[in-house]
Amino acid sequence: MKAAAGIDIGSTTAKCVLLRGKDIIGRSLNPVGVNIVRDAEEALRLALQDARLDRSEVGFVTGTGYGRFKISFGQLTVTEISCHAKGAHFLFPGTRLVIDIGGQDTKAIRVNERGEVADFAMNDKCAAGTGRFLDVCAGALGYDVAEIGPISMEARHPVKVTSTCTVFAESEVTSHVSRGKDPKDILAGLHASIANRTLSLLQRVGIEPEVTFTGGVSRNEGMVRALSARLGLPVNVSPLSQYMGAIGAALAGQERLDGGVAS
């Protein structure tokens, strides 16, 4: 049986997942630079290496994500909205709402019991409420974005961050620091601010359990907790949540392979 590859070219990273039947047999994640065509090739090469698979074993390649049209060797492109819905449904079949917070956009996707998109809302115009917001604000505090989640969870007196705009929030962070606020408390405030922004997006499509959190920012435990607290609902997070788009893309390819489309 041939494998299906799903490649998700995001704003920050390229993800590739290899699927054979219902099994994820390989995956990769690499940074996206200026040459997206090359980054996509690299993603597939790394996933093949991870699966110890030869390129000829791949029967179908599907691209998704904002850079999907730059994948020169794929047979199909699917929007990341469909892919996240499909991927979330695959890992958590009870999913009815997907929150995808990526490097520079945020999406709320309502899905039906078959994992199809019923409705969606997105913010891709503004960095507020996206991974970029955390990135910039973490930088202003001298942290790496990867470490701030757990630190924010140690806060005792979360600070209220009032600026919506990332640029203004960065100055607000600096002024909280100069007033002697604890970085933990500032970080907690930043996470709460994103949770608030996300909630208003989720309300536009309707909130219904189960809720599955995907995208790079779902790797941040502090964000998972802040969102869950704001929603008053548990939130599903898979260790593969960052690969959700790529998984969905691979699943779309797998369907084509099952439907008898030759490579």
Partner: protein, 268 residues
Amino acid sequence: MITCGLDLGSGLIKGALLEDGRKLLATASRPTKGNATQSGQLVIDALAEEQNLMTGDIAYLCTTGFGRYMFPTRQLQVSDITSSARGAVFLRPGTRHVLDVGAQSSRAISVSEKGKVLKFKMNEKCAAGAGRFVERCSKYLQVPLEEMSSKALTAEKPKLISSVCAVLAETEIINNVAEEVPLADILMGVYLSLAQRAYALMRYVSIQPEITLVGGLVHSAAMVKAVEQTTKLKVNAVPEAHFAAAIGAGLLGHQRALKLARGGGVAA
């Protein structure tokens, strides 16, 4: 009678000294650093010194701007919208539309011939469309702030920016640099992007000539050109317009002082 207007902005504190509400005597500014009261006092001292006055010679002090409540010895405070409108009409009596692009916010104001505000629209939630955007670009493109405008004016094919957000625009600009778009074209694109954001505000309040630009970007010829190109109208940009809000505050202070002297009105 000498009155003083003090505009406590987020980037700079500007002051203007006026005589009898008719003559602009002096202007001065200092960066807003730490304590707004101290920085504001420095501006007043500089103005007094330049005119050989004692602080006591200033009959009335009116504050405006984002920090207008932070200056305890003020006698009156007015909103920056009211004061910019009044100041712009003082500098250019034909003004019917004021565009104020400040460090952290921007506003479009339509005004009557007497300088009264008819309608306004402002953006203070988002850094795109504010002077901060130019400051950030200057930083990551490593072009000194004071050279941004002159470099932009040499653009041959301005590279428009599609992102509305200042942070996302940053990525776009860096990609443009990587694709070897000439620096001047990128810089002019930055000003055109600001002008487009301003145009959206301006249309909301209806655009009528003359348009007068006030605030920190009046010194930027590239900004003036970008607004003219976007609105297809001539734009007044006089250097004193950087102090329009302070001038307007000084004028409004004079008006209030006269009213008080006549026994009318109540102290603010």
